[in-house]
Symmetry: C2
Subunit: 442 residues, 2 copies
């Protein structure tokens, strides 16, 4: 069977472009309207996409004047989507720095139960002092500490998911024995960051473990992904960089004894689609015109740990930027943005325009045919196992992708014409984890 | 308008009776099947009930051999029910001892958004060392500390719910201003237990605040309820005790300057319903016969801080029980159980039978007419504003209540014949909280 693409729809408010809410077509209240997201999930399912995904952070991100800020809590949102869909995978971000593993393990297991095996967890450590200050801390913990905690968090979580064997419930009405108590075990975890007895208070879920996703590309992030991630969302601006990242991550996974095919790599792409290339570029330009640059400049200054006044809009980036080592979060994104500005010799205003669509993800304006071509090109060039589709405007950008690009990919036999399995793991071609408890009690 | 009853369906697995899963009619896997609960919520909505409710604790409670253990995470479950219902309120328990207020405030606000204003939070402090050991602690924190933390937790949570004014989002597309940043404010909470900057990352929800529910009846619990609760679920075995509790709680609320009508008191009742009284008692007896007493004896011994061998099945409770002061959780339930056993001179085996249906809640076996009579009696005797209906067997016990008891209550003009409002607060006749932020910024 020829290798097939994996396609995830990364959904955000009324589109990834920061000005999308200002278009006449956009409902600026849609961010908190579950019907909007239910509609999007149904469109994505119509396109036979592998999954939908929601990014998240436990803090109000950015100035609420700039664009729709605040989001429905993601496990609540995924559940609302599970209720109106049958096949599509449901992935959301949750933080290992600001949750307890017992609670989060249970929440994702519950979403996996209610969705019939369609849950996925994008594991993040959460950069930013503002999030820390919602949880009793003065500042964000150090990058290395966050990743160390994240690794232990995932260990605890997966042990909790394995704390019931798949056959623990026997439901013997005559004998009056509901579950075999020997198959429901405490985990008695004792580590640097967590002490958790268990067992979990929900049986093992349909997928065994919800799908583990990761999206950080720093050195710590890559090593974490190589060890734990089954799907990786990544921002890559050029084919060469994407190839290097892809090769590096597959090699790291193999070095850890994993099957490199069990870690699927999906670069982000912000497709701006129209019938002609000129129309697509006009839509892109219209969105760029609607950006209020002051908001974006403030955010850029914060990322660079500078004052906004140090970033004159019509000059190139200053020379005195910090190094990646001096940045305490979103390290690889910092480097990507600096590289992009320097490589294309952009002014601050131009850089803001380039980041407006995908915050560092690759924007591509073109016809459905051209979008399909670039997807196929990267897919066949060792740069991707699939793509994280990030429509600039929603729902119209998702509809355009599903109704115009997906059929081309299907005609080229690059993408499924129907779902072949029932779980998110089935869609991504990933195995169901063997229960570590069963292994140790055989 | 004559005073009307409030009816909440307290739902648990395939029924509150611990042996309900052993009946031929029961699906022993239903505890983790969202369709089971969606069916129950629809039945309750057909009966025009105010709400459904799910108790919870972040620990696997009891022996998994005894009966269906483990539950779907409640905010996930409520969301799944919101998707298939239109009117009924959706209440669940969450712990103030083992959550972060930022995360929990957001989760309940999100359920309120996705349900169009139907969310309620039963605030508990969580007794038991086993739960503590899932969160890095060796033992449960002291009762007084748990309640002090709970009070501060609720303060933080309500401030977060008020951190956006109701009119903060202006969505001015022309000016490029999405929300008025002056109406989205940090809370900068600094207390003994929490430091939380805010604002919340979701706008104020339809109800302003999800409904605040409480269920503890100890001295600390009553004072907490009097200050914060808008609905109280309580276990009362006799009319006299229920009247005393009702009067005490209303008086405490008034003493704190609250309108006593804004705290609704709902004793629990486990109705076992059949066409004749004899048939109802036979169903009750059949359930009692299906109890495996060893499990229940172990639990009783744990509650009394004794060894199971100290509780011979066919003897009365021993004299050397601890006092309520020596108990570190579920204090009032402890006293209720001891009083019940002593008052009726029950053996341990008989006590186990009496607790099998409702764990201390009042069980009442009778005809629909008799169930309606006792509800009316308590309602008109200053003992209740409504009832927490706890079917012994599900779905059949709920169906019987909705189809056979509710019509009688409606005929007697004691209960609504249709929903008159859209939110959970509407159903309970409770006001929407004024935003404290708006009050301070007028």
């Amino acid at each position: 069977m020829p290798r097939k693409l994996h396609l995830n729809a990364f959904l955000m408010s009324v589109g990834h472009h920061e000005a999308s809410w200002r278009l006449p077509e956009s409902d600026p209240y849609a961010s908190w309207d579950v019907k909007h997201f239910q509609n999007l999930a149904r469109i994505a399912e119509r396109g036979k996409l592998d999954s939908v995904f929601f990014a998240d952070s436990p803090v109000l991100q950015g100035d609420p004047g700039r664009r729709p800020a605040g989001k429905l809590e993601p496990t609540v949102l995924l559940t609302a989507l599970a209720a109106v869909t049958e096949h599509i995978g449901l992935i959301a971000t949750a933080s290992t720095s600001y949750n307890e593993p017992y609670n989060l393990a249970r929440r994702f297991a519950s979403v996996d139960h209610v969705s019939g095996g369609r849950a996925g967890w994008n594991i993040v450590t959460t950069a930013g002092a503002d999030a820390a200050r919602n949880f009793g801390l003065d500042d964000v913990p150090a990058h290395r500490d966050r990743y160390e905690r994240a690794a232990e968090f995932v260990e605890v979580t997966t042990k909790l998911w394995d704390s019931w064997t798949d056959d623990a419930v026997i439901a013997d009405k005559d004998a009056g024995v509901h579950a075999d108590a020997a198959k429901v075990r405490p985990i008695n975890h004792r580590g640097r960051w967590f002490r958790v007895d268990g067992p979990l208070n929900v049986p093992r879920s349909p997928q065994g473990w919800p799908l583990l996703v990761q999206a950080g590309s720093s050195e710590d992030g890559r090593q974490f992904a190589a060890r734990y991630a089954e799907a990786v969302f990544t921002a890559q601006q050029t084919l060469a960089e994407a190839q290097a990242f892809y090769a590096d991550l597959k090699q790291r996974a193999a070095a850890l004894g994993r099957d490199p095919d069990h870690i699927k790599i999906l670069p982000g792409i912000v497709p701006v689609i129209a019938a002609t290339e000129a129309e697509a570029q006009e839509l892109d330009a219209e969105l760029e015109r609607l950006i209020s640059p002051e908001y974006a400049r403030r955010q850029l200054a914060e990322r660079f740990q500078l004052d906004p006044a140090d970033l004159p809009l019509d000059e190139p980036l200053p020379d005195n930027l910090p190094t990646e080592d001096e940045i305490e979060g979103a390290k690889s994104r910092f480097t990507l943005i600096v590289d992009l500005a320097r490589r294309e010799n952009l002014t601050v205003r131009q850089l803001i325009g380039r980041l407006g669509g995908g915050r560092g993800h690759r924007t591509f304006a073109g016809t459905p045919e051209q979008v399909a071509d670039t997807i196929e090109d990267w897919f066949h060039s060792g740069a991707a196992d699939g793509f994280n589709i990030m429509p600039a405007v929603l729902p119209s950008g998702l509809t355009a992708f599903v109704d115009q690009v997906v059929p081309i990919l299907q005609d080229r036999e690059l993408f499924r014409t129907d779902y072949e399995g029932t779980t998110l793991r089935d869609h991504y071609g990933l195995p169901r984890p063997v229960n570590s408890l069963e292994l140790t009690t055989v």
